[in-house]
């Protein structure tokens, strides 16, 4: 086996290496993440669970290149985001990273297809080509027939499908989902997870941040975060006490 092949097989779509993020300085400094290492590979959905304040949102904003770590590295598709600079990171966000939010974050004045096409158009693609990709992405998430609808003429579940289409349009392989089912009822939420799961099965790498065990259960791995530290992962033996965690660290 060649070195190149080995590298291709082991390169994670997302890799956090000993990532620490401190907000503020001196006595008021808050360590949101403390030496977190974490990876998501192609075809894999990883759930991150933890209570409010455990650092799970910080982890997602760092993974999305919206924030930079105080120490450690965040790599997407093998590229250290810190080495890219602001412009390069913005480009990476448009071309490689898809975000799915709890409240969908669709632009109300744009149709479903226009919302999905937007990141491609911002990236310099022609309107015609971007719309074609957008329609294909909407087909993939099962709402090709709603391409010309505006968000307020769609149900919550349909809007979240549009958001997922927007997250995967083009060649993007990293989907970061922040409580994507928080605003949906049980059954619709489950359909969204089923869809997210199928996008990962099709080759994307997904990171799902949630505090609901039922949703995290759709993932291949569940990472438990407490006080900015990964304390446990399903499928591994390592367990740290979570009650004493703060006192000993």
């Amino acid at each position: 086996m060649t070195t190149a092949m080995t590298t291709a097989m082991t390169t994670a779509v997302l890799r956090l290496d000993s990532v620490t993020r401190v907000h503020g300085e001196g006595e008021t400094a808050v360590q949101a993440l403390r030496g977190v290492s974490f990876a998501a590979h192609s075809g894999e959905l990883v759930a991150v669970m933890g209570p409010s304040g455990s650092g799970k949102s910080t982890l997602l904003t760092l993974a999305g290149g919206l924030d930079s770590p105080t120490a450690g590295t965040v790599s997407v598709e093998g590229t250290d985001l810190a080495s890219l600079g602001a412009v390069g990171r913005a480009r990476m966000r448009r071309t490689s990273i898809g975000y799915v939010f709890q409240d969908f974050n669709l632009i109300p004045a744009l149709t479903a297809a226009e919302n999905v096409a937007l990141p491609r158009e911002l990236d310099g693609e022609s309107t015609r080509a971007a719309r074609r990709l957008a329609r294909a992405a909407l087909e993939e998430v099962g709402i090709g027939d709603l391409a010309d609808r505006f968000p307020d003429a769609m149900s919550g579940g349909q809007q979240q499908r549009v958001a997922i289409a927007r997250a995967v349009v083009g060649e993007r392989r990293l989907i970061l989902a922040d409580e994507p089912t928080g605003a949906l009822d049980t059954e619709t939420g489950e359909e969204i997870l089923r869809l997210l799961r199928s996008r990962c099965d099709a080759g994307a790498a997904g990171v799902l941040v949630t505090h609901e065990a039922r949703h995290a259960a759709w993932a291949d791995r569940v990472v438990f975060l407490r006080d900015g530290v990964v304390v446990d992962e399903t499928g591994t033996d390592q367990v740290d006490s979570l009650i004493d965690a703060g006192a000993t660290r």
């Binding site: 409010s52 399903t234 979570l242 006192a247």
Partner: protein, 208 residues
């Protein structure tokens, strides 16, 4: 478990023999609670003794292999109706090993409760992942009533496991808060906790 009522309810749909009853029960519950055929026949014998079922004579083809085919009696029909119209009793909580274990873990010295909780959470989460994998292999809106029945049983397991994880989260949060408040109450001379922990408590306090 109400094997007795479940078998009666199945027989209300038509006469069956033991193996058929077991197969029908498991088709609806996805073998979640496997029945052995001996248990089925013991139950049938008791039901017959109580006059709720009776061997059916002259059922076409049924006894070719020597199986005794049972049918429900009028009294049996009444029992089924009463079962469906009466809520399952909740007065006596079923014995819960986890709750008992945790109750003892917080009172017996030297037990690391945090680890007990996290190990259980991981194990329950793994079970939840297994249930979800079973669900993934299934269509989201099955048309066959027996498929739907099993899918609902699966949901019941999912919700129960989820409730357990939520309860564990809750226990952990309460124990952590209790532990953080203790040194503050006991003495002001105690060294402060790690900065991360302090900030965490402050934020939690602000939210609540």
């Amino acid at each position: 478990m109400s094997v007795r009522q479940a078998l009666l309810a199945l027989l209300e749909q038509g006469p069956m023999y033991g193996y058929q009853l077991r197969a029908e029960f498991e088709r609806r519950t996805g073998s979640t609670w496997p029945l052995n055929v001996g248990q089925v026949y013991t139950t049938l014998t008791r039901l017959e003794r109580d006059g709720l079922v009776a061997p059916v004579t002259g059922e076409p083809g049924a006894d070719a292999d020597g199986h005794v085919v049972y049918g429900v009696t009028d009294a049996g029909r009444e029992e089924v109706a009463a079962w469906f119209t009466t809520p399952v009793e909740r007065t006596q909580p079923p014995r819960d090993e986890l709750a008992i274990k945790l109750a003892l873990a917080v009172t017996v010295p030297g037990v690391d409760v945090g680890t007990v909780i996290q190990q259980q959470r991981s194990a329950t989460m793994a079970a939840l992942q297994d249930y979800t994998r079973l669900k993934r292999g299934r269509p989201s809106s099955p048309d066959d009533p027996a498929d739907m029945a099993w899918s609902l049983v699966l949901d019941s397991l999912v919700f129960a496991a989820e409730a357990e994880v939520r309860w564990l989260d809750h226990c952990e949060a309460r124990l952590r808060r209790a532990q953080l408040e203790r040194p503050a109450r006991d003495s002001a001379a105690q060294p402060p906790a790690a900065p991360g922990v302090e900030a965490q408590t402050d934020r939690e306090g602000a939210r609540r």
